[in-house]
Symmetry: C2
Subunit: 210 residues, 2 copies
């Protein structure tokens, strides 16, 4: 009964994360009722995502130009704003899974090092080959740029069972490349209440009191 354009829309949109059948159907009619301009504008902001580039250093996204390297001549530079920023410490790295994790960390304005975005890790602890390549890439950067171990590598996976497992595996991989390897602190979130904190969190908060 539904016209093909709506069926096609639902087929694609219902597969996007956290958008199911019902929401994609509602979205289709919302856009249709808004009219051609809104439809075109919405299609354009999606289409324009294809112009984004992936930083060759940390694998975050950027939209800047790919430039000829100035110093050591060979190849082209394809760096995001963070990796281009000369004011950031080049001997501290944070390894994290998602671009949105990076955005959250940047918002704190408390981390002045650089990143490595790994992509979402599996729950089994098996790393995809692309993720292994990214870790090796970090090792190479440390070897080449610093010629010695990094001061610190922060493994910023989630404080969950899977995050802990993956952090252990990444730590093993990187342990020869940093003087120390750390993880984000654990405890009661600011604004949280002791009464409602789960045992594990409260235990961690006690152990890591300061």
């Amino acid at each position: 009964m539904l016209p093909d354009p709506i069926k096609n829309f639902i087929a694609i949109f219902s597969k996007l994360p956290s958008i199911g059948l019902r929401q994609s159907t509602r979205l289709a009619f919302y856009l249709i009722n808004k009219g051609k301009n809104q439809i075109e504008e919405t299609a354009k902001v999606i289409s324009d995502l294809k112009y984004l580039k992936i930083c060759s250093m940390c694998f975050f996204v950027h939209s800047g130009p790919i430039r000829e390297k100035s110093s050591n001549g060979a190849g082209k530079e394809n760096l995001c704003d963070i990796c281009q920023d000369k004011n950031r410490q080049n001997n501290i790295f944070m390894v994290l899974e998602k671009e949105t994790d990076l955005i959250s960390i940047e918002r704190t304005k408390k981390f002045k090092g650089r990143y490595l975005v790994l992509g979402e890790l599996t729950k089994s602890g098996d790393m995809k080959s692309a993720q292994k390549l990214r870790l090796n890439h970090l090792k190479n950067i440390i070897k080449k740029e610093l010629g010695t171990k990094a001061e610190e590598i922060i493994i910023a996976t989630n404080p969950t069972t899977y995050g802990d497992l993956n952090a252990m595996i990444i730590t093993k991989e990187l342990k020869d490349f940093a003087k120390k390897i750390t993880r984000l602190g654990r405890g009661i979130p600011t604004g949280g209440e002791i009464e409602f904190a789960d045992e594990e969190t409260l235990g961690q908060a006690l152990e890591r009191r300061s």
Copy 2:
């Protein structure tokens, strides 16, 4: 810190119904990580929604051709599959708010009349001028096509306070155009439990027992 294409994407998507800032950010990175093909495919299914037409009879969508009228010559026919279907009863109408409501009713396969899609009604009971036009349009169809009152008009607004208010207003508008005006039955939903039904629902179920 975010590149413009992502900012633009978030600005548009976070305003869509039930998609907030966080989900639109996640969607942007999901699509970026899926690559150009998925980005283009997703943009296309949105863009193609613009080819849909609105049925000149019931205001549901369709993608069929606009054809010359065969019988009474004047103008063009721009009808959805339902309004074109000669097997449907032409003297019973269901007035509903949303296209998705129509889809749900069609799935029951129990309604063989035709529809009028009004668009979402306000909670104040004030009807938008476009909605008033649609109601007048239905009155004209009944007058022209039937030359007499319709057998029945079902007002299928939601069984909520606002839905009831709007149903009253629509009933008043249409009362001279149908032999009877009805609403959808109320009671305990199939699979529901008496113990957990709210008072109002249970009261209605008792009143409307059969």
